[in-house]
Subunit: 152 residues, 2 copies
DNA sequence: CTAGAATGGTACTAACTAGAACTATTGTCA
DNA sequence: TGACAATAGTTCTAGTTAGTACCATTCTAG
């Protein structure tokens, strides 16, 4: 029986890394996301709060580089955080194009409450899966792969 | 000078895996996404087409399990694919709750054109970063971590 | 010192996201 | 067989996504 040729690259080495990478990230998110939401923040909002914590504030540019939120998206995220009085936008003196974003006292309090709680929640999931040596091996291999994706 | 205690768990072993995991995934997406879009599909649409390729079709339920698209989101994705005549919804005979989703001939042609092209585009990024042994080590560690996130 | 390039932030679009609520259908077990 | 739970798919909401276009401001090179 002649069979139409199929498209099945599942034997490819790299497909065997691609799926686990994506699936591990998703498994992480499905664990991480609901916990963050239960703390009253969305993941992007948490990312911003965590990045601003323990700093004197930074511009949108810096913030979008340090977080994984692009600057177009950041506007909306900051709008919602501002509405909740967790951050404030202060026009910069030196460069009038810039806005300094920083935590309000309320935002700082929220940071101190939510950030350690979330770390403690996630930590056991890493610790029970990997030894210290395995974790640093994983870290190294991931960073090599990341670097390869970023190279032109 | 007394300094307010800061919240800095960057020394935690697991934080050293968390960031690379997320950043590698993002680096992957930033490479993967524009190429898929240049082929005329969104990533979710591609995921669906790739999953339906070389099958006789499947229900929304199955599709949402095999892809990384949840069933609520799937409805909209399928609507758009149906509008492009790449998939069709066939009501199931046996179970009238179910709908069979399958590629149209046009969808099948698109699959055969787009899927191998995308694989070839992404492959070198993996190959230049990792040896075969490293890739399987990475795969193993990722799967262990994934399993840990999924465990209760 | 001024024209043109670069930069910072916002506005907009189409699509996607999880999650919850809803309808219709099917399975179960008492 | 009849109530009740489970399942399939859709709808809805609030928020996020990348990307592009846009405006104001600032830098730079002639």
């Amino acid at each position: 029986m002649a069979r139409r040729p199929t498209v099945d690259p599942s034997k490819d080495l790299f497909m065997q890394v691609l799926r686990p990478l994506v699936e591990t990230y998703f498994a992480f998110i499905r664990r991480d996301d609901p916990h963050i939401r239960s703390l009253g923040l969305t993941p992007s909002q948490f990312d911003v709060i965590a990045t601003l914590g323990d700093t004197e504030g930074m511009t949108c540019k810096e913030l979008s580089e340090k977080t994984l939120v692009t600057k177009g998206t950041l506007t909306g995220v900051l709008d919602r955080l501002e509405r909740k009085s967790l951050i404030e936008r202060v026009p910069s003196r030196e460069d009038r194009r810039c806005t300094l974003i920083r935590l309000t006292p309320k935002g700082d309090a929220r940071f101190r409450e939510v950030f350690p709680a979330h770390i403690e929640y996630m930590k056991p999931h890493f610790q029970r899966a990997l030894t210290t040596a395995e974790a640093s091996k994983l870290r190294e291999l991931l960073l090599r792969l990341k670097e390869s994706f970023e190279r032109t």
